[in-house]
Symmetry: C2
């Protein structure tokens, strides 16, 4: 027998979050009710606004509540002439945190996957082609995931860039920083050998 239908419905709703099972949902619900009701209310408001107002940027297709996201609208980034192609908006966050990239992005929201019926137009490559045609772009940096599908998507886009005479480059594959060489898998290691760079003095 339950003491509160609202509490039940809160626990049930919390389970839509990834990685939250019945036990975590219960702990979250009790924690909010007992110690942080104002935090719970803030979360509810943030959720409502985000779910109803956040759409996609017209240019790069990342999540934003404006027509065009702040990165695409930034004149300094427009002048940069580089476009970095990523699979998801989370990848933009990751690249932005490095502080190494000053251009704009293009978010595919997935990757080519013919078996699942996901073709070029499903990941917005028609819009990318349109941009390659109309904008002055110096370089397209392909930062799709280092998976079979990610590589295939990168190759497809590289060919597309070639048709419009735009340089395409792929982010380097190799051993990650930190850790030990003997722990790195063979595929990564052979990529890191093939992609070796001359040390300049």
């Amino acid at each position: 027998m339950q003491t509160s239908p609202l509490l039940e419905s809160l626990m049930e709703s919390l389970r839509c979050l990834p990685g939250v099972g019945p036990k975590s949902a219960q702990r979250m619900a009790f924690q909010l009710l007992q110690r942080d009701r104002s935090g719970g209310m803030r979360l509810a408001q943030a959720l409502t606004r985000a779910m109803s107002e956040i759409g996609h940027c017209k240019d790069c297709h990342t999540f934003t509540e404006q027509d065009i996201c702040t990165i695409c609208a930034n004149p300094r980034r427009q002048q940069n002439g580089q476009i970095c192609v990523v699979e998801s908006p989370a990848d933009i966050h990751a690249i932005e945190q490095t502080g190494q990239f000053g251009g704009r992005y293009f978010v595919l929201m997935g990757h080519l996957s013919p078996l699942d019926g996901i073709g070029p137009n499903d990941i917005g490559l028609d819009r990318l082609e349109h941009r390659l045609e109309r904008e002055t772009i110096q370089e397209v940096i392909l930062a799709t995931n280092p998976t079979v599908e990610g590589e295939a998507t990168a190759n497809y886009i590289a060919e597309l860039c070639g048709q419009y005479g735009v340089d395409a480059s792929r982010i380097a594959h190799g051993v990650p920083m930190g850790g030990e060489l003997e722990m790195v898998d063979g595929t990564t290691l052979s990529h890191s050998l093939a992609g070796r760079q001359k040390i300049k003095f």
Copy 2:
């Protein structure tokens, strides 16, 4: 540079949930935006209603949106004459799941802790005393946590029951079911020896 202030505020708000750090918050936000907007809206509504409407039961002090929770209001449970004292509403859930208890509860929302300035009235023992005085209660089952504070709280309430001629009992301490005896800690094992029960044929 961020693409969406609303997305940032959603990630920040999600961190009020226990066990959710920056990375999980980001994953949750993207998952909801990309795949489950209706789930996100339902969660927002459930949160708003729960945070604003859920209060405490007048009798047992558990979470409920009614004056008196469904367990306290149940006539069959009222006739039972047993009251189970627990530290938190989550404990009620745990005990209800066993299906072994047919009485009512009393939730302390904490335990006695003189060092933190938490005395008997802060955990509602004045209201429990009031109930012992006015209601016909056969037995008070003390199911506080098996910690130093939980034991002290149980002892204090047992004395209180004695003053009103009400039987008090403590849930059994001993080896948990499953697992191996050699893995059980010494304190638990000595409790299980001291609390041994005669096998009846």
